[in-house]
């Protein structure tokens, strides 16, 4: 009969409650990945987990091995077809998810359960390669509690669901101080932790070096944060918050481009540094995979690893692929800008032949002014003002949904026919017009304005604050900023995009919301996110040094950090151990004496088994060492009386101690 059973019962089969824990933890570990793995895989995860749950519910057996093998093969082929390779982060995560649900379907024994748990831990970690937000972190903690509970269910205990979750949370809470020490002290490497291949940076939004009709108005519908700014002192007035980004010079009749010339470093002007009316601020820039660092016009200092070009762009040497913080100093528009003189080839270049009506209008103005009273140097400035007046006077509208401009005479079409446009239309038409009048001009894109978060005082600049304006070269003043949008819709500059648009225009999320509590909640959430970004994700080499020297560590380097880390972890471990030992029931003197007996007899190979009762123990010792029969009988009867009988008091206890101390245990014969 025994032989018949030999094969079938496995060593440690999973119980139903263990299976339930493992199945329940799986959706939590997979969930954050659903957003970025291929759709078919996400669907297969859902189906497989449901299938597994149904099998569990019905007490059904696991699917046959050939089916699982076929599914594994099909899954691997699917991953290969989706990514064309097996390397890098995304195929790796996809494979992990695939293996997790296959293992769930296959698991039979406790060993399989452990594999599932460790796969889950690893999978939870990999999600942070995709995103590092506060929401994901919170969710991961939640999932960790459940996965750890599943792990504890694999151990030899039976507990209620609530008790198990509590235990798991307690264990993680005990790990938290270690986490904090490691976080603070683990030497940081410069740059992002994982240098991922190309697939890591797709999908970042922001300004680009091409501006065509619609590119900025599309961006304006996004409520995503472009960057956050903390000012030293008050935030300057809104109409001077021009965050300078890409400068565009080449026009092909439809789109403006930056052109291909290398940025030229602008020579530092020592005089500028002595000016006192500059503003200082710190920008935390979201990654956009380009080189621009946004700064208020006009930037005076460039952060490390960046330059200020001669057209006042701040350019990082590396594309911004992770969130960075940089300190900036800028001079607001109080003084005229100097900067490089215009280059006719780029700042005046026009394609001949198109937009004849605009050309005619501007040539007409030029003629009038040349014959008029204020000819000469002021003529350029007068033309600028005429153009702005023209925008103001004629019936131009500011709208996010302008009619399509087609054909090669798009500026003509805009200025004389549709007259409805967004900032890029106005900037584009204005610069084109200036160039036809012979005034060097260029388009500047960037962001305008921003919103102060009342909770933490940061200025939030969103993609919806994207803006385009113009700069013209005036002989006596240098490059001067002109914002034609301000002429058409002054409220865009003064109050933001929501107030400048007509009723019924589509608005980016939250921008137009007039629910105060919703806005308040949004600001609170944004402040928390920002704090997370600043202090957790932004905790880089620099901030680590800063924090550690503030904590009193002189010259923190990786050696001292590692030492401190090891020492602190050791101390903490020691403290926790003492605490745990202290918490155990204090032993009574009787038990201490009894344990001493066991320790003494241990040398003779006669240690007490911890489940062995006193009488049995005495018999066993006596059988092995007949010469101890008498003292052992006395000791056992005293101990039994003290511990299990009604014997009490100091005298028998002293006697017990004396007997145990006086026990003569000869060396093994």
């Amino acid at each position: 009969m025994a032989a018949k059973h030999k094969k079938s019962p496995p060593a440690h089969p999973l119980t139903r409650s263990q299976q339930a824990w493992l199945i329940a933890s799986a959706p939590l570990t997979v969930a954050p990945g659903i957003a970025y793995v291929p759709g078919w895989l996400a669907a297969s995860v859902g189906i497989a987990l449901l299938w597994r749950a149904v099998l569990w519910w019905r007490h059904a057996a696991a699917p046959p091995r050939w089916l699982l093998n076929a599914l594994a093969l099909a899954g691997c082929v699917g991953v290969f077809l989706s990514f064309r390779h097996f390397f890098g982060k995304d195929p790796g995560v996809a494979l992990l998810i695939l293996f997790l649900w296959l293992k769930l379907l296959e698991m039979r024994q406790a060993r399989d359960g452990l594999v599932v748990v460790f796969l889950s831990y690893f999978l939870l970690f990999t999600h942070f390669m995709e995103a590092q937000g506060l929401g994901l972190a919170g969710f991961t903690v939640l999932a960790l509690v459940v996965v750890t509970a599943a792990l504890s269910s694999l151990a030899q205990t039976r507990q209620s669901v609530a008790a198990r979750l509590r235990l798991s949370a307690l264990m993680l809470a005990q790990a938290a101080p270690f986490m904090l020490i490691l976080f603070l002290l683990f030497p940081r490497v410069q740059g992002p932790l994982w240098g991922m291949p190309r697939d890591a940076y797709s999908g970042m939004s922001g300004l680009s070096d091409v501006m065509e009709p619609g590119s900025i108005s599309n961006l304006s519908l996004s409520g995503a944060v472009a960057f956050r700014v903390r000012f030293e002192g008050d935030i300057p007035p809104r109409h001077s918050l021009y965050w300078r980004g890409p400068v565009l010079r080449q026009f092909d009749g439809r789109a403006w481009r930056a052109g291909f010339q290398r940025p030229i470093r602008r020579p530092q002007d020592p005089q500028e540094m002595t000016l006192t009316d500059s503003v200082r601020y710190t920008v935390t820039l979201e990654p956009h995979n380009r080189h621009w660092l946004f700064a208020l016009e006009m930037p005076l200092t460039a952060p490390a690893d960046a330059i200020i070009s001669n057209d006042y762009q701040v350019l990082s040497k590396q594309p911004i692929r992770s969130r960075i913080r940089y300190d900036m100093q800028s001079r607001l528009n109080a003084l005229p800008q100097t900067g490089a003189a215009p280059a006719p080839r780029t700042d005046l270049a026009l394609r001949p032949g198109n937009n004849p009506r605009t050309r005619a209008l501007l040539e007409n103005w030029r003629r009038e002014l040349n014959t008029g009273a204020d000819a000469g140097a002021n003529a350029d400035e007068a033309i600028v003002h005429r153009m702005l007046d023209y925008f103001r006077r004629e019936s131009f509208f500011y709208t996010l949904t302008p009619p399509l401009l087609d054909g090669r005479h798009s500026v003509d079409q805009f200025l004389f026919e549709t007259r409805r446009g967004f900032c890029e239309h106005y900037a584009s038409a204005f610069v084109f017009a200036m160039r036809t009048a012979g005034i060097p001009a260029r388009v500047v894109t960037g962001y305008q304005g921003g919103e102060r978060n009342p909770v933490d005082g940061y200025l939030i600049v969103r993609q919806s604050d994207a803006h385009a304006w113009a700069e013209v070269w005036l002989a006596e003043r240098g490059w001067v900023r002109v914002d034609p949008t301000a002429a058409v819709a002054p409220s865009r500059i003064e109050a933001g995009i929501a107030s400048a648009l007509a009723e019924g225009e589509p608005l980016p999320f939250m921008i137009g919301a007039d629910l105060d509590w919703l806005r308040a909640m949004y600001f609170r959430w944004d402040a928390v996110t920002n704090g997370w970004n600043q202090w957790v994700l932004g905790y880089d080499t620099l901030r680590q040094r800063e924090t550690l020297s503030r904590l009193g560590m002189r010259q923190p380097n990786w050696k001292s950090m590692t030492t401190a880390m090891a020492v602190l972890c050791g101390l903490l471990l020691l403290g926790l151990t003492f605490w745990a030992l202290h918490k155990r029931a204090r032993l009574t003197p009787v038990l201490r004496a009894w344990n001493r007996l066991s320790r003494r007899l241990k040398r003779a190979g006669l240690a007490r088994q911890d489940w062995e009762g006193p009488a049995d123990y005495a018999i066993r010792v006596t059988q092995a060492r007949p010469e101890l029969a008498r003292p052992m009988a006395d000791i056992a009867s005293l101990y039994i009386g003290l511990r299990y009988g009604k014997l009490d008091g100091q005298k028998p206890l002293d006697e017990l101690r004396r007997l145990i101390a006086g026990l003569k245990i000869a060396r093994q014969r």
């Binding site: 059973h5 089969p13 205990t157 039976r158 006193p614 009386g641 299990y644 009988g645």
Partner: protein, 307 residues
Amino acid sequence: MSDSLMDQTVRQAARVVLGKERQIRLALACLLARGHLLIEDLPGVGKTILAHVLAKSLGLDFHRIQCTADMLPADILGVSIYDRERSTFQFHPGPIFAQLVLVDEINRATPRTQSALLEAMEEHQVTCEGETHLLPRPFFVIATQNPSHQIGTFPLPESQLDRFLMRIEIGYPDPEAERALLGGADRRELVADLGPCMTPENLIELQRSLQNVHVSDALIAYVQALVEHTRRAPDFKTGLSPRAGLALLRAARAWALIDHRDLVLPEDIQAVLPAVAGHRLHPANSAPGAQTAADIATALIGAVPIP
């Protein structure tokens, strides 16, 4: 003095049921602890003889009920019959009205009969036609059952099993005992010749003195640890109930009393554990019957340190 009575009883029983002193002691302990005993084993290993010997040695009047599938509750409990002469209903007590009742092959009776019997065992009384009839004191049931995988039986459900303080197995005798058995006189004659070693009054006195057996806090902690372990370890389908814990302690007291001690040791708990916990614990994973009660108890004892 009374100690020697118990010793005599054990000795006398051991002369008839050869090589089974441990089972005899357990049965006696069960009796002293006012519990009922279930003996589960194959036919012919001496279940009936053991019951018979105990009844004789303890001077108890003895009835035997052989269970069959067509048996009705009235066949055990008794029945009220109309008496013409007195024009009243007269209760005719069934075979359960005895101090020691042997219920043979209890798993052959239908669940209905089983439950009537077990209810009487629990309540120590029989209610018939609205009239309550007290059972005699002391009252002790020894039920036997063949291992439950035999055909045509109604295995006792877990809740009914719980009514028995102990379940023991007798097992085959060892070679020496078997030789003595084969060479000795007829067991039935031996039983017939037995005289009582004590009176029912002595027995009740002994049952009362169980309360004087000291149970220390350390021992209670041990019982609690054992019970707690069965609830937490995944080896068992369900853990031991508080009633099982109480039963364990009561049986251990009786065991200590038989051993002439006025205090309970962990060894006493360990000695009665297979009999008390074996039928209340079910391994979570193995097929039924794959692990004996002794295996389960040994594993349990080994897993729980004595505090």
